[in-house]
């Protein structure tokens, strides 16, 4: 049984975010990047299946510019066996459906029994890749997985997180796709041993052109970013100033005074 985890490299949320001069995306010059947090949980979910002997190989895939290979290295250091990098600068601004098409093209000929990705990417919050890939491959998909268990007869049982503290239990017939919620597990940290071992692991690189997708593929699906703006300033909000712990104390005090809840 083979697993594929779809990952994305996203700006570190501690980075200084400024909108670029075109007003379409953030200015990338001062950003540092990390593996999307949700994806760490997706990777961990597959690695646990491998640890348990249920899976023979875990592959990590990303679609993104050159720098995104760093996030793949992180996955390899954490335990993924090999990686695939669909490398193209245009992918940064590409619509989810285009990315999903590229992913499906890149894994053609490989049989993955379970494809996992994070519930969403911390930067663009689309929440579409998992669903789109499942649709293009014609596979069942469960989003917001809070647990994952392989069962006899080629199915996976998944608990999905719903609003209001409810869980929905579903069975997916494999091969299938899941998008993973952060509470599903506690991701491991890459060990020094893993980091050293990762140096010998393969990252296969393909370009959009290799996949038969020309430059016109980007934006050819009726989706275009018009503008990126900060939200309008709200009225009547009071900003509490100071270090976090001081703010927290002040906040607690006000909640007490105003609501009497605590």
């Amino acid at each position: 049984m083979k697993g594929l985890v779809l990952i994305k490299q996203v700006p570190n949320t501690d980075s200084p975010f400024r909108i670029n001069s075109a007003g379409t995306w953030v200015d990338e010059s001062n950003l540092t990047y990390v593996l999307n947090d949700y994806d760490r949980y997706a990777l961990e979910a597959l690695l646990r299946l491998k640890d348990a002997g249920a899976m023979t190989e875990v592959v990590a895939l990303t679609a993104g510019p050159e720098r995104a290979s760093q996030a793949l290295r992180t996955c390899l250091a954490t335990g993924a066996d090999r990686a695939i990098h669909i490398k193209d600068d245009a992918l940064t601004a590409a619509a989810p459906l285009v990315v999903a098409r590229a992913i499906c093209a890149a894994i053609k000929g490989e049989a993955f029994d379970l494809i996992a990705c994070g519930l969403q990417a911390d930067d663009d919050n689309h929440m579409q890749i998992g669903g789109a890939v499942a649709r293009l491959l014609d596979r069942p998909c469960a989003s917001a997985a809070m647990s994952l268990e392989l069962r006899d007869g080629g199915t996976a049982r998944v608990e999905r997180e719903l609003e209001n503290n409810r869980l929905q239990v579903v069975d997916l017939k494999l091969p299938a796709v899941i998008t993973v919620q952060t509470g599903i597990n506690e991701p491991r940290y890459a060990s020094l041993k893993g980091i050293m071992a990762a140096k010998k692991k393969e990252i296969r690189t393909v370009t959009l052109a290799d996949l038969g997708m020309g430059a016109d593929a980007i934006g050819a699906d009726g989706y275009r970013t018009v503008r990126l703006t900060p939200p309008p300033k709200g009225k009547g909000a009071e900003m509490l100033q100071g270090p976090a712990d001081q703010v927290a104390r002040e906040l607690l005090k006000r909640i007490r005074e105003k609501t009497g809840v605590i």
Binding site: V34, Q70, R73, T74, A77, Y189, A190, S191, L192, K193, I195, M196, A198, K199, Q241, G242, P243, D245, Q246
Partner: protein, 581 residues
């Protein structure tokens, strides 16, 4: 001495600062600024990323400080992550990280928790370093895999109750027992980091080798009979680290545990600290960066008189001093690790200067951060006071800053003496006979150094570089004068030593900044080096003025008064007269 200097390699390794004291600007040793290979950088990035991910959740420096006990779970986690084998070669089960990467990791550890940084530093930086540098294949095979896994936590045991700065006066003794084929060790070691939790101690002891009283180094494991440790010391800071006495009572140390060659122990003890000091400096840089981040966050948010306090000039001055000093310290540290990694280079002065500069910078930075934070700075709930307490020790251990200043100045002028010797007649005792050197010889040296400049300096840095070159010469000329004036007596002239080593430190810092900024311009263009240029110029302007003052004061001072005041006070047994009561 470079790494792995075996007995017999008598060719002195090149040293940038020693050459500088002797009037030679060996620019090619420090330009361009060292850069790690892409592979090393990639590995380092992964290590830092993994460490941060873990540390954010599991390394709570404040909690460790409050608990004031050895953080057993943290050390276990570090073990699982492989962090306790960071620098142990891969063939022995470690990650084999080079010194630069190790220092960068230590910086990060210290941002979170200085106690943890000290635990790791004592384990890898000094506790097991001797085995790495001087151990036999057999010793490496026996101990390093256990060290790398963290199954044996290591410690470095040099200091004793009556032997601190004067380490060579240590009293612990190892006597060879031919009947049992063991060295029998007796003695007490004091203030040993990791003491209470270590399984392996690198112990320095007196030995009689060929009728001569010498010092040798031994690997002492905790399981040997007669090994015990004292109570945990209660400390000002680093409260999570273990500091204890180590007692050795008739400990039979197998002959296979003698480290390197007998009689070379003191040299080993000093060389191990070369790397230890630069990683200690890196930790201090990390602590300083953390305090800068916290102080800046606070200064931007805290409003008084209807403005963020960051806008007041007295706060600005502090922030600027914190950042330029830390920029300089960081530049020195990684210039030094770059030198170390090139091999065949003596970086002992550079690492001592990095330690002095970074530890004092960190103290200044944290002190400013406490001040910027106002009342919060004094309150335990906030991080400032902890960093203040934790960073104080950096000026004391691994060689007090006083002792290191003595070392820098004397190693510098000693080399100058040798240089003078080369030019003049073959003198037997350079220091005592320098007075007889012909004026001609001295002039020749001076000629050799005048007008030596840094090559290929980019326009925005040219003025600063010219200052640096000028004061490099001035340092050498002043040192030479002092040496001729005092001869051998320079050993007793600590007022002079302090000024020379202070000037040398500022100079090395400035050269490190210049190299870093200039290399940045060359590689990435002036626009991306804007910050580097600003830092280098700002630091440089302050540094050359300090250097000028220090060198001037070598001959123009009130040292005599200072001596009198100090002597008088000691005579009186303290402050003395009570003005009012």
């Amino acid at each position: 001495m470079g790494k792995g200097g075996k007995d017999g390699d008598r060719v002195p390794a090149k040293s940038f600062m020693k050459a500088l004291f002797a009037g030679h600007l060996e620019s090619s040793m420090v330009f361009p600024y060292p850069r790690q290979s892409d592979e090393a950088r990639d590995t380092l990035r992964l290590v830092l990323e993994s460490f941060r991910d873990w540390a954010k959740e599991h390394l709570d420096g404040a909690a460790i400080d409050h608990a004031a006990t050895f953080p057993v779970q943290v050390v276990k986690d570090l073990k699982d992550l492989g962090m306790l084998g960071l620098t142990v070669p891969e063939e022995y089960g470690g990650a084999g990280l080079p010194l630069t990467s190790y220092c960068r990791v230590m910086e990060e550890v210290c941002r979170y928790c200085a106690s943890t940084c000290t635990i790791v530093g004592a384990h890898l930086g000094i506790g097991s370093k001797g085995i790495l540098l001087y151990g036999s294949d057999d010793q490496k095979k026996r101990f390093l895999p256990l060290v790398a896994k963290g199954e044996l936590l290591a410690a470095y045991a040099l200091t004793e109750p009556t032997s601190g700065s004067d380490a060579a006066s240590l009293k612990t003794r190892a006597v060879w027992d031919p009947a049992k084929d063991v060295w029998v060790l007796n003695g007490t070691k004091r203030y040993i980091t990791n003491g209470g939790h270590a399984g392996l101690y690198t112990v320095f002891a007196r030995t009689e080798i060929g009728g001569k009283d010498t010092i040798s180094a031994f690997i002492v494991t905790r399981d040997l009979p007669g090994v015990s440790t004292g109570k945990e010391e209660e400390k000002l800071g680093l409260k999570g680290s273990s500091t204890t006495d180590l007692y050795l009572a008739n400990v039979p140390v197998p002959k296979g545990n003698l480290l390197g060659e007998p009689g070379r122990g003191f040299k080993y003890a000093m060389e191990i600290l070369n790397d230890g000091r630069v990683s200690l400096a890196a930790g201090a840089v990390g602590g300083a960066k953390e305090m800068i981040d916290r102080a800046v966050e606070f200064a931007r948010q805290r409003r008084q008189f209807d403005r963020p306090i960051a806008e007041f000039e007295m706060i600005r001055a502090k922030i600027a001093e914190m950042v330029t000093g830390t920029y300089a310290a960081e530049s020195m540290v990684y210039l030094t690790t770059g030198l170390a990694e090139r091999g065949g280079i003596d970086y002992s002065i550079e690492s001592a200067l990095s330690k002095i500069f970074s530890s004092e910078n960190a103290w200044r930075v944290v002190n400013h951060a406490v001040q910027i934070a106002g009342g919060n700075g004094f309150i335990r709930e906030y991080p400032y006071e902890r960093y203040l307490r934790d960073c104080r020790i950096n000026m004391i251990f691994e060689g007090t800053n006083e002792i290191l200043r003595v070392f820098v100045a004397l190693a510098g002028v000693q080399n100058l003496g040798e240089e003078l010797k080369k030019v003049g007649q073959a003198l037997k005792d350079p220091i005592s006979q320098i007075g007889v050197l012909s004026e001609f010889a001295v002039k020749k040296i001076r000629q050799a150094i005048t007008d030596e400049q840094f090559p290929d300096i980019r326009p925005p840095l040219q003025k600063t570089a010219a200052r640096a070159a000028h004061y490099a010469e001035a340092l050498s000329v002043t040192a030479e004068k002092a040496l001729r004036q005092h001869g051998k007596g320079i050993i007793e002239r600590e007022y002079v030593q302090e000024r020379l080593s202070e000037a040398a430190g500022d100079l090395y810092a400035l050269i490190a900044c210049l190299s870093r900024a200039n290399t940045r311009i060359a590689q990435a263009g002036e626009a991306s080096a804007r910050r580097d240029i600003l830092m280098t110029r700002t630091f440089g302007n302050a540094a050359w003025r300090r250097i000028r003052r220090l060198l001037y004061q070598v001959e123009n001072n009130q040292d005599a008064n200072v001596t009198r005041v100090s002597d008088l006070t000691c005579e009186m047994g303290g402050y003395g007269e009570d003005l009012i009561g």
